[in-house]
Each structure stands twice: as structure tokens, then as C-alpha cells.
Subunit: 342 residues, 2 copies
DNA sequence: CACTAAAATTGACGCGCGTAAAAAAAGAAT
DNA sequence: ATTCTTTTTTTACGCGCGTCAATTTTAGTG
């Protein structure tokens, strides 16, 4: 109906607003007078002009881009929390750019590198943790406001938001002890995730509090095929009857899912019923934990609270225009989700 | 050690290469003489300069960006295939930009819109299918080279790459008939995915070929909680004994996973064994299908073949600089993955 | 060695927008 | 109406790079 608008100059001419004012408007609509804003918005409906992203960001030191980096998108936990963070960014008027490191710490660095060249206003990073390149990340954080979530790296970034593993593990250990035999702990020998170390520690403390001996069993294996490791290694342990009690607390749900499949194969009935000889519990409330056989008793991390808080922590820094004095760590409590497996 | 290089001008001065030549190099390293290329690369190692992304793309009509849009990243199928496509793009020297539509067809349009403003060289789209805004996508494809994968939309995009549902369903139906009672077909009533319609059709044809009556059962329910729907609706059907045979072929693995959990709850033994009263098969070889109880017999889609072929189909178009005359449809065969459930 | 085609250099302009400074206009307050 | 303050307009420059035309250099050939 109307001719195509090629640039801001033309839009200024046709809308009767000067170009610098339009520039201010597109940078922050609140920065112009209300009457002007309404005039622009009306013209915008009529002519459908959108400023050129590349020209916009070229001369601006800070863009409206927010980088999001997760270690492994094929893990439903990260795709869920990635989704939540992405939506939080959109709601706040930022452009989220999601990257997965596909299980490779090297790619984590590469992702941060390629983000850097997009001059992001800030970055939300769920790092590998121990496997991460700590120095690289700290270097990165010097240039770009950085908020960590899920996995902590001490001293890196302006803030960390995650789950309180001591509270959550304490909760499930207490429940397991109260409702049956005290739990053994099943985990990977060389976990890449720092939460795993916290959870082991939390298990030890909780068992001491409950007055029971602790039993830790570690599976060999690397990589991100947790179900496979849980199934093969956990299955071997079940077959060899290495667990001194009938209850196993797995460091995360994906290991537990593997162990449940091994138990099923071996004809071991899992659950609280009288004919059951094994109880299994997990941690994370993985999206599939509701559909395991039996359904998995676990700890639900507050996905959306973590995502929202991480995002708003970053936005607070961005809007205050300066880095906070102290590094902030926010831990959310996990909730016990009682299902059939324990 | 050396001073920071601010722009291509400075890098030209310090490396002894003229700026236009550098510009050519960064656009396509093969476009300069080998001796020159080596000189540049040596200087690059020494001085660590990277051209400004925004300034680079501003004056170029075609960037090196490739958009990737999937309907729902929290579905492991899409995160897996998204990952494969992403890596294929990186290998080919493009910058992948991954977007998830989070289950919302509106967001699919929004994603394409925001991609458009990034002037992508091309876009790889796994559309919703029936729920997609067909006209919008066709409009989009007029501006940007577009390759569809996983789900087809007739007449949209330059090419489609997916799985041959007729072959794959034929294969599993044939197997099920040969090894036991002929299968019933379980699916959603209003599937958003066009593959579902193809699979139903394929089931009908395959059953006719095998000389058995077809039985289709459709679950109510919307959205992407397939496991939930499979569990609740499928469970109800199991309890009501509506299936005339002891074998159920599910339209996809996620429905099958839900049905398996329902069967477990009801104490129905699933599998081929003599004490089993139900067989369940799926389609897709979902990453979790190996760990269901019992493990799920299914059809494996060739994830990486689909991803690689989709990517290289797009690159072929990009390098030939022109749209292909005919729309190409490439279907890969599924493979039967025999596990314990059927 | 001259000759030619290919590649690199020089010099220059423009892309679309950010942004600064000065002038003008619009509101708000007296 | 006058003054003061806030906002907008005018004017102009620059960002970093793409790209073009004219020129020079290089590499390859007989």
C-alpha cells in the first residue's frame, strides 16, 4: 500500500520526527516524551519500519543482546531452563542468543568468544564447572557482565544462582531414613558438574546427622550419557549386590533413570510396596522422571525461579550501569517430589 | 605483548596487506592468492584481530549467518537434530543461529522475523507443519533461501528432508504382524505434526497389505506433553481394554513412553515373553527409548543423515547463488530397532 | 626478455545509524 | 506575559567495513 522504507532517514521524513529523536526512541522508547512516543508508534503501525540491526549495534558500545550459554542442550534440564531464561530476556526487551556447548568445554570458550564479538550487554552462563576454563571465564567477565547459574565457579561472574544442594539432599536423605532403610549414594566417579561434589558432601553430612553410616558408590565413565552409565554400572552393582541397604539415592535423575531400567531388566521390583526390594531416588525432577517405571521420587529444582532470578540479576546489573561490589550467591530450595520409586 | 588492533585499517598497516585484500580474505579466504593468504594467516596468529561483525554485515546483502528454527527444543529429538545441524553449519564456515519456537506457531513467525533482520544467507526450518503459518513461511522463503526438515509443508522452501514414514511404518507393521498379533495404532487426535498424518496413512496401507483389519485409536489432548497424553489417555484405553489385539504401535516414542508407564502402573507386563500381555512399539528412537521399562522397540530416524543432508542442501543453494528449479524432497529410510517391548 | 593475465594496492565513496553541539521549540512555573 | 526547563530539531561527523575504478605489482608464459 505504501512504499517500502529503506532507512531511518526516510522514516523520519515520512513520520515528521527528526532522526536523532527516532534513534533515541529505538534505543529506549521511554526516553522520549509520551506524545512523541505515541506519534512514532502510530507511524510505526502504518509504515512497518525496523532499524537495521547491524548499523544500530556498530556504533553502540552496549547492545541489547544477551548471551545464554548452556553446557548441553540435549539434556532436557538445560533445554527447559534455557527456554525459561530465553523468555525472561524477551520479556525484558533483550534479544537472547542461545548457545549450547554440546558437552565440550572447548566449545564453551568458543561460544563465549563468538558472543563477545556480538558486544552483548550481558551473558548468562551455565558453565561445566570443574571442566570449565576458569581463567578464560574470569577474563571474559572482566569485559562483559556475567551471571552464572546452575553450576558455580567460585569467584567468576557477578552472581550465581542455583539450587541449595545441602538443603535438598538433606531433605531427601531425611525422608528416606524416616520411611525405610537409610540410602546409599550413587554417583559418577569423575563428575563434570560441581553440584555433584556438593551433593556428595551434603549426603555425608546428612547421613551423619541422621546417625547412619554413609555408603558411596561411584560409577566409571565419562561424558554425558548418564542414563547409559547408570544402567550399565548401576546395573552391575545391583547384580553384584554391593549396596548394603535397599535404598539408593542417585546424584541426579538421569543416573536414576538408568538404574531403574537396569533394575527392571533384572526383575527387581522398585518402590515402597511390600514386594519391593529396592528404593531409588534422584535429584532434579527431570521431565521424564514422571514416566519412569516406577515413577521417580526426586527433588524438584525450581527451574523457573532460577531462570527468572538469574535473568533479573543480570538486568539489575545492566540497568545500574555498574558492577555490584560483592559477588552474590542465591540458592533456591529444592522440593521433595514423592512418587513411587521411594 | 603487542598493541590491540582496533580495525581493519590498523591490521592492514601492521600486516603489510592492503585493506581491500583483507576484506576479500575475511569474506572468503580462498579468494586471495595462496602466498597472500599465508601472510595474512601468519599475521593473524600474531596480532589476534577479528573484523567487526556488525560493520561487516551492514554493507553485505548476504551474511554468513544461517538460521535454524525448531518447534520445541525441550524435545530431545529436536535438540539432537538441532545440534547436528548446528555443527554442520560450523563445519561449513557459517554461523548458526538456533531458535526454538517453544511450541508456539506464533513464535515460529517471530523467530523467522527476527532472523530476517539478521540477513541470513539461508534458513533451516523444522516447521510445526499444519499449525504453521504457511503463507507467512512462503513469503519468507521468497526473501531467504529456505530448507525444511523433519516436517514438510507442501510447496514451501527449496527442499525438504525427512524420514520416509511409509517405508518406516511399513517396516514395523510387517515386523509386528510377522512376530505376533497385528498392531493397533495409537496417536493423538489432532496431531500438530504432518508426519503423524503420514504415519496413520502408512499404517492403513501396511495393514491392508498384510491383510489385517486396521484399528486406530486417538487420544484427546493438545500441546507438547506427549508422554502425559500417552500415559493418561493410553492408560485409560488399556484399563478399558479397548485394543482388540495385544499389540499397539504408537505414532511416536513419546506417546509410547507414556503408555509404557501406564502399563507398568496397571501391572501389565509388556514385551515378547510368554508372560507378557501387551506389545508396544514406537517411532523415532527417542534418546530415552533405550531406558524405558521394558526398552522400547521403535524405528530409528537417521538423525545425522537428515541434519547433514538438510545443511548441505542449503549450502548447495547458497554456493550456486540461485534457487533450484524444482523443489526437492529427500526421504531417508528408518531402521527397525528391536528392543524388548515388541 | 617482453608480454599478458591475475592479483594486489591506492584512493575514494557510501552504508545506516550513534551521537555530539548548538539552536529552536514546547511546556511548565512564576 | 516572562522566565526557566525539558525536549526536539538542525547540522555535522564518525564508526568499521564493503566495494568500485584506476593503477601498480606479481606470477606465469613463450
Amino acid at each position: 500500500m505504501t512504499q517500502k522504507i529503506r532507512n531511518m532517514e526516510e522514516f523520519a521524513a515520512i513520520s515528521g520526527i527528526s532522526r536523532p529523536t527516532l534513534s533515541k526512541f529505538f534505543n529506549d522508547p521511554e526516553s522520549v516524551r509520551r506524545s512523541t512516543r505515541e506519534r512514532i508508534e502510530k507511524a510505526l503501525e502504518k509504515y512497518d519500519y525496523r532499524p537495521n540491526v547491524f548499523a544500530m549495534n556498530q556504533n553502540r558500545s552496549k547492545t541489547k543482546n544477551v548471551g545464554i550459554v548452556v553446557p548441553y542442550l540435549a539434556d532436557p534440564f538445560f533445554s527447559e531452563i534455557g527456554r525459561a531464561v530465553e523468555l525472561a530476556c524477551l520479556d525484558a526487551g533483550y534479544s537472547p542468543i542461545l548457545h549450547s556447548s554440546h558437552g565440550s568445554p572447548q566449545l564453551e570458550n568458543d561460544n563465549l568468544d563468538s558472543l563477545r564479538s556480538l558486544k552483548p550487554a550481558g551473558v548468562l552462563l551455565a558453565p561445566f564447572g570443574r571442566a570449565s576454563d576458569r581463567k578464560f571465564i574470569q577474563e571474559f567477565a572482566r569485559e562483559v557482565p556475567l551471571v552464572l547459574f546452575d553450576a558455580n565457579i567460585e569467584g567468576a561472574g557477578e552472581a550465581f544462582i542455583g539450587t541449595d544442594n545441602f538443603q535438598s539432599i538433606g531433605l531427601v536423605v531425611e525422608y528416606l531414613c524416616r520411611s525405610g532403610e537409610p540410602p546409599c549414594f550413587f554417583e559418577m566417579k569423575t563428575p563434570s558438574n560441581p553440584n555433584a561434589n556438593k551433593r556428595r558432601q551434603a549426603y555425608l553430612e546428612a547421613m551423619a546427622r541422621q546417625g547412619h553410616p554413609a555408603h558411596i558408590f561411584q560409577a566409571e565413565g565419562d561424558g554425558w550419557d548418564f542414563e547409559e552409565i547408570g544402567s550399565v554400572e548401576g546395573g552391575r552393582m545391583l547384580a553384584d549386590r554391593v549396596f548394603p541397604t535397599n535404598t539408593v539415592l542417585c546424584s541426579n535423575d538421569r543416573l536414576a533413570i538408568g538404574m531403574l531400567s537396569a533394575a527392571y531388566r533384572q526383575g527387581i521390583r522398585v518402590g515402597r510396596g511390600p514386594d519391593c526390594t529396592l528404593r531409588v531416588a534422584g535429584h532434579d525432577d527431570h521431565p521424564f522422571s514422571r514416566f519412569t517405571c516406577p515413577s521417580l521420587t526426586t527433588i524438584a529444582q525450581d527451574y523457573s525461579a532460577i531462570a527468572d532470578h538469574a535473568a533479573s540479576a543480570l538486568f539489575a546489573i545492566l540497568e545500574s550501569e555498574r558492577r555490584p561490589a560483592a559477588r552474590e550467591e542465591t540458592l533456591f530450595e529444592g522440593k521433595l517430589v514423592m512418587r513411587e520409586s521411594a
